[in-house]
Point group: C2
Chain length 225, copies 2
DNA sequence: GTCTATACGAAGATAGAC
DNA sequence: GTCTATCTTCGTATAGAC
């Protein structure tokens, strides 16, 4: 492999720093799992694309599923951190409104993921697809990673919507999760410069605002007591 | 196979009529594809469960994907028929409201599918999962089956919501599709008699009403002009 | 026309030697 | 870390029995 760059330099260059095999595997896994799903993606496809040996996944992670688990954990970590940070900040100021809570939930999922360089949409699509994977075991992987903040959001939402029954709040939360995953999973279905209007998102920057407005209206007036 | 019933009798018995191999394959495919996804389900698993030979799928349908296509078409047909019927009926009376249109879209997807005997939830889950399959080719199978009514709904919704921009209407329609698929795909995740409140659906019969109320509020006040 | 038994080549994940 | 071997399972094709 003569074209393989030499690792070890400081990462202060303008160029992309040299990635370790482990990192390359995680990056490619995010891309391919988000494209074809877990079952639909072979380890061979991943290792070839990552310019790694077929056995590299087993060496670094132990199994295909462990690779997925690691990728999910890495992708969700900054989202969860940001959600917690916003929740802390809101609650320090008193009782947050439903809109503030919805924004604090949606924006880290869309915003953060849609706006950090080229990999953003790939990460978004990956997360969205894992959340809706046909296999329950894989959906549970996602649920386990987003669980930690779930309880806090549910109780805060209930406080913000005192007239709504607890089941209704849970129903709304589930719908919020679902719509977020839907729009995350569509991150790359929209080719850059695609014709606007077909899916209502000519401007991806407004996606978060539109989704938040949609959800706020539904929470405020669409939940049964 | 001595326990195989003899076919050929009129289907006027109270008992379940004897199913043909083709029907059994479709039924099992609905169940397994809805459970593990297309890629996650092998033809062998399907044919074993259907008490058919491994070659039966190829004989009756031609390929695994053709089996899926046939299953999708069979599952969606009554839903589309009912949607068209309702749309005709509404438009005969004048310009339908957004709520009427949303109801005419959601109820055939949830209602019809959740309330026809034991197979209902299986069909619902299958449809919901196909709509969100990780593979684009499979999602397109679903889209092709639901396309025929899509244009009618979009234009009728635009008339009912004259202040909303066309992209906003399309955005709302996409969200409606997504939430319907979400709740369809959860049809069997909820075990019968499961603890209420966790997902806000202690009473499945109210699911349609709750979802419609949620969407009506979002369409009426959550779409940008 | 239906269904069965069997075989094939490709691709799957993983383990052990290096 | 890599390479190779291994053993499984996949979807599909075919030839022939009912």
């Amino acid at each position: 492999m003569p074209e393989r760059a030499v690792a070890g330099g400081k990462e202060n260059s303008v160029e992309t720093p040299v990635e370790s095999t482990r990192e390359r595997l995680l990056n490619i896994a995010e891309q391919r799992f988000g494209e074809g799903g877990y079952e639909g993606t072979s380890l061979r496809a991943i290792t070839v694309a990552a310019a790694a040996n077929i056995a590299a996944v087993n060496y670094h992670f132990g199994s295909k599923e462990a690779l997925l688990r690691a990728a999910v954990a890495r992708a969700m970590a900054p989202v969860n951190t940001e959600r917690r940070r916003r929740l802390d900040q809101l609650e320090a100021k008193g009782e947050p409104s439903a809109e503030q809570l919805i924004r604090a939930f949606i924006e880290p999922g869309l915003d953060l993921v849609l706006r950090r360089g080229e990999r953003g949409p790939v990460v978004a699509r990956f997360i969205g697809r894992v959340a809706f994977d046909p296999s329950q075991r894989i959906r549970e992987l996602y649920a386990a990673e987003s669980d930690p903040v779930e309880a806090r959001y549910l109780t805060a939402l209930q406080v913000a919507l005192p007239t709504a029954a607890p089941e209704s709040v849970a129903f709304g939360y589930l719908n919020m999760l679902g719509l977020l995953a839907l729009h995350q999973s569509q991150a790359l279905t929209r080719p850059p410069g695609a014709e606007p209007g077909l899916d209502g998102q000519e401007d991806p920057g407004r996606l978060a605002d539109n989704l938040i407005a949609f959800l706020v209206a539904a929470f405020d007036r669409g939940l049964r007591p």
